[in-house]
């Protein structure tokens, strides 16, 4: 249950028996494919989820960055993001374990909608906890969960956002562990969650690895993925961990700035790998955003899916080991990348995924392509040109339909040149 100094099971005693039971089920069903669990999961991911998702050569990005850029298209997975890989895995596991009820928390609603879909597909009652403020901001996702038959329970405590929803779900689980499984949405939490969620998500890199070999005859030089909690990141990296020649880049949300405001208890970013410190949060020892007393600070990102103060313990370990290179991309660069991918490749990415795209621009931008975004020629294109090799796989973790309102607001607020004329949309959609 540990990844170097990180990991562990820092949870209330009441949950420990359930976690031991889950650990046992994980080892038997997931690791040993008992009763054909993994076969059934793979079949359902194919037929219900739409796997394999493509690895697409991105023509105009390749031209722009003067190297081959391949996009791993998790935006095409059922539900519109990689989230289903894990949600379906856990709900199916709960079924194998004889559980009769599913609970989950959700912030912006991505994990909640994936869990609700998986639960509907597998005919399991499902309750999703969601902060009241998030409910008001994410009404379409709330409606989708309800359409899938899930109960959506508003959490009114505190600020009414993700952290209160997590607490509330923990509370439910602490009282219902005997018949209920808590579907954690990322590679965080107590063991076995970080390992199990990684295993469910690693289908992303397993596919990308053979697809890259098929497309190029060899392994990519680099894999780039955005990192919030880290499920997309670990999913994108897992199958390449042993390929030491493949560089792995975890791109975090740099938000507005990498400084922490101690007085307000706020970090204007979500870069726990890049700028966080070791601590214990939500059941695991990992890197996280905290003040000097050890209080968790509120993280921030233009992308709600990256907006989390912690990160998966294995990812923290891989960064310590220098197997994974952390990087941070700020809100503005992510927005520009969102517009760039939409306009030049016909793919509207999730704002999370836009961070990974923005990383290309940050380390390889400015010389290739049509130059339409170049501002003068003072940018030294060769400065970091060796940061990426000649074949780069970037995971598009999800589609951006969910982010249209945010993009309007955030693009408009910044007066960005990127993107279309938005004058008709400034009041929202």
């Amino acid at each position: 249950g540990n990844f170097g100094r990180y990991g562990g099971q820092y949870v209330p005693e009441a949950l420990m028996p359930a976690i031991e039971e889950l650990t046992d089920a994980y080892e038997r069903y997931v690791l040993e494919n008992e009763d054909g669990f993994m076969d059934e999961l793979r079949r359902r991911l194919r037929d219900f989820g739409g796997r394999p998702t493509p690895l697409q050569h991105a023509e105009r990005l390749s031209e722009r960055y003067d190297r081959d850029v391949y996009l791993k298209r998790e935006d095409l997975l059922h539900g519109g993001a990689h989230k289903l890989n894990n949600a379906l895995g856990q709900v199916l596991l709960a079924k194998y374990m004889g559980k009769e009820r599913i609970i989950a928390e959700t912030g912006a609603g991505q994990h909640g909608t994936a869990t609700a879909m998986a639960a509907a597909h597998l005919n399991m009652p499902c309750e999703i906890y969601m902060g009241e403020r998030d409910i008001n901001r994410q009404r379409p996702n709330v409606f989708r969960m309800k359409l899938n038959g899930a109960e959506v329970t508003p959490v009114t405590a505190g600020r009414g956002t993700l952290k209160e929803a997590i607490s509330e779900t923990m509370r439910d689980w602490a009282g219902s562990v005997e018949d209920t499984h808590y579907v954690i949405g990322s590679v965080v939490g107590p063991h076995p969650f970080p390992a199990m969620v990684r295993d469910f998500q690693s289908v992303v890199s397993e596919e990308a690895r053979w697809q890259a070999i098929e497309a190029t005859g060899g392994l990519p030089t680099d894999v780039v993925a955005c990192a919030g909690g880290g499920s997309n990141t670990m999913g994108s990296f897992a199958a390449f961990l042993e390929d030491s020649e493949v560089a792995l880049h975890a791109v975090e949300a740099g938000g507005a700035s990498l400084e922490v405001d101690e007085d307000e208890g706020v970090a204007p970013h979500s870069a726990s790998l890049y700028a966080g410190e070791e601590g214990v949060l939500h059941g695991a020892r990992t890197r996280l955003l905290q003040d000097s007393h050890g209080q968790i600070v509120e993280s921030h990102s233009v992308s709600s899916g990256l907006d989390y103060a912690g990160v998966g313990p294995q990812l923290a370990h891989l960064v310590d080991e220098e197997r994974v290179t952390p990087a941070a991309v700020d809100d503005e660069a992510a927005l520009e990348a969102f517009h760039r991918l939409s306009r030049t490749e016909g793919i509207i990415p999730a704002l999370e995924s836009a961070h990974a795209i923005a990383y290309l621009e940050a380390v390889a931008g400015g010389d290739g392509g049509d130059g339409e975004d170049d501002e003068g020629d003072e940018y030294d294109a060769d400065a970091e040109d060796d940061a990426l090799g000649d074949t780069v796989v970037v995971t598009v973790s999800g589609r951006g339909d969910k982010d249209l309102e945010s993009v309007i607001e955030e693009t408009d607020r910044r007066d960005l040149d990127a993107g279309p004329d938005m004058s008709m949309f400034t009041g929202g959609l």
Binding site: E13, V280, Q290, H293
Partner: protein, 285 residues
């Protein structure tokens, strides 16, 4: 009762004659000075041990009542350093136990690990810890520091805890074991779970005081819990409710303190009734 499992003699003494009343309050709720007065009122009300909550931003084991107390205390400026000052400022004679989450313990001081925090706690006069997110499996470093400085490390035993896990926890525990009366999180209830008797039965063979908590809010609850064999009762949310009501209604601190004292007396009286009933059953002749 035996005191053989504990580091703290004060805590051992608290269980020595009759059922122990162990109230909890979040420190700094709703402000530093009121909180001092409230904790002192608990002692007047008959507290044998007091659990002092050091507020953490992510109180995952708490119910809404204590979660909101934590928010109030944090907003009023409570920090670990202020917490230790608070302990030093308190004018009470009963043993004090710090209840908090592991990250605050872990982050204290320049060097890594829990030892600096425990050292400071000992210096401030604390006698033990309850750390709800630290299961026995992860507790060795804290347990070692507690042993070094003579503090107790209290573990929680849940209704779902059994078999090997129970043995492992009971081999680690010191001071008293916190018997969780029911599944779920902290919070006052109007009923008392049947789990209590079962849990106490399972723990009978272990020679350590058993204090039952989660959901006790009245003298009647206390009576039944003690009658079922508890060596002590832990009461948190019911007392925090009194503080919350005072804060919401802007009551003078003395009024709130009096109410806390009154509720404490009711709980103590209940516990004693339960103890008498149990003695009567235990000595049928």
């Amino acid at each position: 009762m035996s005191d053989s499992t504990g580091n703290s003699e004060a805590i051992a003494r608290a269980f020595a004659d009759g059922p122990a009343y162990i109230p909890y309050l979040a420190v700094g709720d709703p402000d530093y000075d009121s909180s001092l007065a409230y904790v002192e009122a608990l002692e007047r009300g008959g507290a044998d041990v007091i659990e002092l909550g050091l507020p953490f931003s992510e109180p995952i084991a708490e119910g809404p009542t204590i979660q909101e107390a934590v928010v109030r205390a944090l907003e009023a400026g409570m920090t670990p350093a202020r917490f230790f000052e608070f302990v030093e400022d308190l004018d009470v004679d009963v043993p004090l136990v710090c209840m908090t989450y592991y990250n605050l313990i872990y982050q204290w001081g320049e060097t890594e690990g829990p030892r600096p925090f425990v050292e400071r706690a000992a210096e401030a006069g604390l006698e033990g810890f309850v750390v709800p997110d630290l299961p026995a499996e992860e507790a060795d470093p804290l347990r070692d520091a507690c042993d070094e400085f003579g503090l107790d490390l209290v573990f929680i035993v849940a209704p779902t805890t059994a078999g090997d896990r129970l043995d492992r926890i009971m081999s680690q525990v010191s001071g008293y074991v916190y018997v969780q009366a029911r599944l779920g999180t902290t919070g006052a209830r109007t009923d008392v779970s049947d789990h209590t008797a079962e849990s106490l039965e399972r723990l009978r063979e272990y020679d350590v005081p058993k204090a039952v908590g989660f959901g006790i809010s009245s003298g009647d609850h206390a009576e039944r819990i003690v009658a079922a064999g508890a060596d002590g009762i832990i009461v948190g949310s019911a007392l925090v409710d009194v503080v919350a009501e005072g804060a919401a209604e802007g009551l003078p601190a003395e009024t709130v303190a009096d109410r806390l004292e009154d509720l404490s007396r009711e709980l103590v009286a209940g516990a004693e009734r339960g103890y008498s009933a149990r003695s009567a059953v235990a000595d049928p002749e």
